[in-house]
């Protein structure tokens, strides 16, 4: 055999082997949205998984948040979704989730570390399935531009300050430094309900059915309404768009136009990167109302999808990402509050975080202990997004002067009733 023939034979064998490996690969598709840098982190972690598991190829579709909230449910309803998705509407997606329990090597690890959050992902009546895990636990709360307070010569209100105290302080600061937004609250029902529960909203009746409009709710809605009238809040967020559209104030906060930005822990990595040294910002404990000082818990879960053709491969990817060392690295690099009991108990070293970000993470982590049971109940309620959306849509209309608050309350109640009835129609 000549040298040329040997080389040809070797090339053919290598080619055949490559084809064989390629043919044996299982593709797992993952839809992922990002608030900060977590998309880069997970892509990096998945590359490592692929290097160790050559039989699995992961296609990571990085999509906008809106694609997850609006397009994914339609995709899933048509049976065309990805194999794994990072979702925020855990209750709404629950019916499409795959129970990973039969495919997991160590289901007890999942029960022990993700137990309290698994309920958020399960369909109603299901107490056993393991649909996924939390990529982060979020807590709503305010960020404050400390530099603006210093420039105005006004002291920051203390840890147990009320919402009214903060409204007064931020308005004074804004007036002195000519900032257009004393308080900016994301146009999001999730943000509003921390305030509402602190004001005494109970949200559910004795049977566990939604009963949203009560005195506590009205007190909170009236506060938000009055703040828009008095200039504590600018209409650009709650009064500028229609329906359930989300509006954040990241850009305004970054440009030092906002004194206090009511958002949440997921913003830390982004603020750390975008604000840089422009000014000092701090996370402060959630302000208090007559019923307490609660934030709203939440977060994004990574959920396996029922329609996958490769549940075993999906389970392997999920097991890898949910394993303690990998998840620790993920939380640590993306500056997220851990949604893993073991990691949270041990504590996490956010090595790459700036001192400002580290301090903020501590403030948010401390808030977890003070979360109201009503807040947990609302977060775990499968139809919570219906409630959130009805509130921002109708209160937004009242703020923009289109309707009265009394009319808004009636509409919130009827919207919730009608949409839940529509969902339950069989």
């Amino acid at each position: 055999m000549t040298m040329r023939a040997w080389v040809s034979a070797l090339a053919v064998v290598t080619g055949l082997l490559a084809v064989d490996v390629a043919q044996a690969q299982t593709t797992v598709r993952m839809s992922w949205y990002s608030d900060g840098n977590e998309g880069e982190v997970v892509a990096d972690l998945l590359k490592r998984f692929e290097a160790q598991n050559t039989d699995i190829k992961i296609v990571l579709d990085q999509v906008p948040y809106k694609a997850i909230t609006e397009n994914l449910p339609v995709q899933l309803a048509s049976g065309q979704g990805p194999d794994i998705a990072r979702v925020v509407d855990l209750g709404g997606i629950a019916r499409y989730a795959l129970d990973l329990r039969p495919y997991l090597k160590d289901a007890a690890y999942w029960d022990a570390n993700f137990g309290p959050f698994l309920e958020w992902m399960r369909p109603q009546g299901d107490t056993n399935s393991i649909p996924g895990f939390m990529t982060q636990l979020t807590v709503t709360g305010p960020f404050v531009n400390k530099t603006l307070f210093e420039q105005a010569g006004i002291a920051l209100p203390g840890a147990k300050a009320t919402w009214e105290d903060w409204a007064k302080a931020t308005k004074d600061v804004a007036a002195k430094v000519q900032a257009p937004f004393p308080i900016a609250m994301d146009r999001s029902g999730h943000r509003f309900f921390g305030l509402a529960i602190s004001e005494g909203a109970k949200l559910f009746d004795a049977k566990g059915e939604p009963a949203v409009i009560d005195d506590g709710f009205k007190r909170a809605a009236q506060l938000v309404y009055d703040w828009h009238k008095s200039g504590v809040m600018a209409k650009e967020l709650w009064g500028s768009v229609s329906g359930a559209a989300y509006r954040g104030a990241n850009d305004e906060f970054k440009n030092a136009q906002v004194v206090m930005y009511m958002s949440g822990s997921w913003q830390i990595a982004q603020l750390d990167k975008t604000v840089g040294n422009a000014f000092d910002w701090v996370a402060v404990p959630t302000p208090c109302g007559p019923a307490g000082c609660t934030a709203m818990p939440g977060g994004a879960g990574l959920v396996a999808i029922k329609t996958t053709k490769n549940p075993a491969a999906v389970a392997r990817v999920m097991e890898y990402l949910a394993s303690e060392p990998v998840l620790s690295e993920f939380y640590s690099r993306s500056l997220f509050v851990p949604g893993h009991i073991g990691i949270a108990a041990k504590g996490l070293d956010y090595k790459d975080a700036s001192p400002l970000a580290k301090a903020s993470l501590k403030v948010f982590s401390d808030q977890v202990a003070g979360l109201s049971p009503v807040a947990y109940k609302l977060q775990g309620y499968a139809n919570n997004r219906i409630i959130f959306n009805a509130v921002i849509s109708r209160v937004g209309q009242a703020i923009s002067g289109e309707t009265t608050m009394d009319e808004a309350y009636k509409r919130v109640a009827s919207d919730i009733e009608q949409q839940i009835a529509e969902r339950n129609k069989k």
């Binding site: 309803a77 009064g239 500028s240 768009v241 002067g401 009319e407």
Partner: protein, 313 residues
Amino acid sequence: MRLVDWPMRGLQRLLGERRMAYVFLLPNLVFFSLFVFLPLIINVVFSVTGGAALFPSERPYVGGGQYAYLFDCGSFVDPGSCREDHFWRGVANTLRFTVFQVVAMVLFSLVTAVVLNMRIRGRGFFRAVYFFPVLLSPVVVALIWKWILQRDGLLNAGLTALGGQKILFFIDPGWAMFWAVFVSIWAHMGFYTLILLAGLQAIPADLYEAAEMDATPRWRAFWRITLPLLWPNLIVVIVLALIRGVQTFDEVFVLTGGGPGTATLMVVQYIYETAFSNQVQNFGLAAAASVVLGIVLFGLTLAQLAASRRRSA
């Protein structure tokens, strides 16, 4: 060429010359049936079903329930009295938007076309400039104007530089609707101007020469020669602007998000949000609303075509 000729000639011999027309129409008809008529039928089917399921087989039949819900109104002139007030607010806004937009669009396009038809210096340049926005995507158009009109936008920067106060254009309902109409006209006027310009150039020059010899004033020549001969083109422009106005969604959605409140919420945005962006994706209600919209559009087109036929008869 012969390869194509051969089967065609065979077919023509088989079917006869007249029936060959249907052979040429068939491929398009198949595509239309598949991508227009079939979805239309599915939409009507969805409009008589309820629930949150996507597949028609899993959706319960509710008869005219969705339509009854849409039309459950105390007074049709007061959207607040309707059970589905957002739909009626969308209807009212769309009507207002369409009326203002069509009137202004036709007027501006006509004036621009008449001026661009005259022998002015830089005529080619102006024609290109007015047509340029038509080439832009509606989303890009809206984003450009949003950048100009927002709190810290270009316009407010100019106003404050001149010592004025910032105006929050997207917070005041009147301003928001004004800019929605304005941006729509800015973006599409070039297209309608082009149609009218083509019509103006088709008018024989000797008619104007004869009028000039009779010492007819220019405005009279415009009224008696230009307008009547341009009428078929004007009808096309009015019909197209009307249909576009009723269907408006993308530009306004990106520019104002339907707000403030629901001041610029259009019917198509209502349909989109009801079907896709609300938590419970209410395909049945959205389908019923789109059937109502379809009927209105169909009626408008028929009325305009009838008017055009009467004028040209």
